[in-house]
């Protein structure tokens, strides 16, 4: 069991680093996609479409086995976090883009007419609202990244799943161990989804609650 917990910790590390890298990419990318110059939109469009079209595992293999050919070598853990992070960035950018575009455009024009730059308008007005809209789909992206962190298994990272395999090879209890692993994934997902839901409720703008009961 302590070994499984150790694996769980690695899984959580991969998940959070991936999400963090993804978000660091996604916020500026979504800003560029909505407000940027044409060439920026084209570049971003390519990034976002390519990364969303390749299976995660192929991205990881490309980075871990492919890049050394051009002289870039990294640890399996780093390759995993960068690969999954780049991919999550593409997905998250689309979550944020949709959220930004859901905020009525007069608010950006109003920010500009007060003398704010596009960047200031984004930071002070658009993003705080878009963030609220993005939370539910972002919670979904979190669960996907958590589960995809098991791709790290294929690169030899001893995350939760691989720890489980090690244990099974000595105990011969595949059913028990895999069930435990499944339960651990479930508990993490459940807890985080609950906390994100709580955050969502906390951030509701008074009078703006669209969850009116429809009879």
């Amino acid at each position: 069991m302590p070994l499984l917990l150790k694996g769980t910790l690695v899984t959580i590390e991969i998940t959070f680093l991936t999400l963090a890298i993804g978000m660091l990419i996604a916020v500026p990318v979504s800003f560029g996609q909505v407000y940027g110059p044409k060439w920026g939109k084209v570049l971003i469009g390519i990034y976002e479409k390519v990364l969303r079209s390749i299976p995660g595992i192929v991205i990881l293999f490309l980075i871990y086995y492919g890049l050394p050919r051009v002289g870039i070598q990294m640890s399996p853990f780093l390759a995993c976090v960068i690969g999954l992070g780049l991919r999550s960035g593409a997905y998250q950018s689309q979550i944020f883009r949709g959220a930004i575009q859901s905020i009525d455009s007069t608010q950006m024009r109003a920010s500009r007419s007060l003398g704010m730059s596009k960047m200031q308008g984004f930071r002070n007005v658009i993003f705080p609202q878009a963030f609220r809209v993005a939370l539910p789909p972002w919670a979904n992206e979190f669960t996907i990244v958590l589960k995809d962190s098991s791709f790290a298994y294929a690169l030899g990272v001893t995350e939760l799943l691989r720890q489980g395999r090690y244990i099974i090879s000595t105990t011969y209890e595949p059913m028990l161990i895999f069930l435990t692993i499944a339960a651990i994934y479930f508990v993490i997902t459940f807890t985080l989804n609950k906390s994100l839901q709580a955050l969502e409720t906390k951030l509701i703008i008074p009078g703006f609650d669209i969850r009116e009961k429809i009879q």
Partner: protein, 253 residues
Amino acid sequence: MSENKHILRVENLRKSFGDNVVLKDVSFTMDKGETKVIIGPSGTGKSTLLTCINQLVKPDSGTIYLKDINVTKAEEMNKIRARIGFVFQDFGLFSHLTAMRNVMIGPVKVQKMNKEDAKNLAYEELKRVGLLEHADKYPAQLSGGQKQRVGIARALAMQPELILFDEPTSALDPELIGEVLAVMKDLADNKMTMLIVTHEMGFARTVSDEIIFMEDGVIVEQGTPEKLFKNPEHKRTGEFLFKLTELYGEGDE
């Protein structure tokens, strides 16, 4: 010459969107403390003209002067926009901020005023538009008329030299129009310089110093309300004013 005494001077402004020529050679001036109303059928470039003045839309040619600064060539456009208030037809209030913070945000983020001073200022401006008791409400908790008054307070808080109003009452229920017009009339009485696109004939007639009638991207005629209503130079002006007055009434203030 005395050219520079005008707060706003628009010269030979042109703007097209694709093949659609929206503004063809528009010129006019505004002096300090003046209230001018722009009227005209929809789609004749009235709103485009306003957005060209604060450069939210770039005109194709022509020049715009704010006092003696050529706005069309200005490098620090953000600083110039901060001096021109803008009130939107659909309010453009920031939904995640209270009325108070909607009014504070300009001074704090753009003029780098400290929060305490900005709060006092916002307090004054909300009082001016009669919304003090709603200061802590969010836009979604306010009526249309209240929202638009917050919009006006937000523009006022920047201490603008000129405020542009783009159909400020067109999105409002009829019974809410009066409260917004009353605030605007009060501003006019206090010699705020205002350029207003509106269909409110009563307001145009009683409050404005001059009416500009636009059609098909040109200024057909401009002059005092008295002259335009009683004895317009162009037949078209008379027809349009008659139709609007018939539709919206004399609307005495």
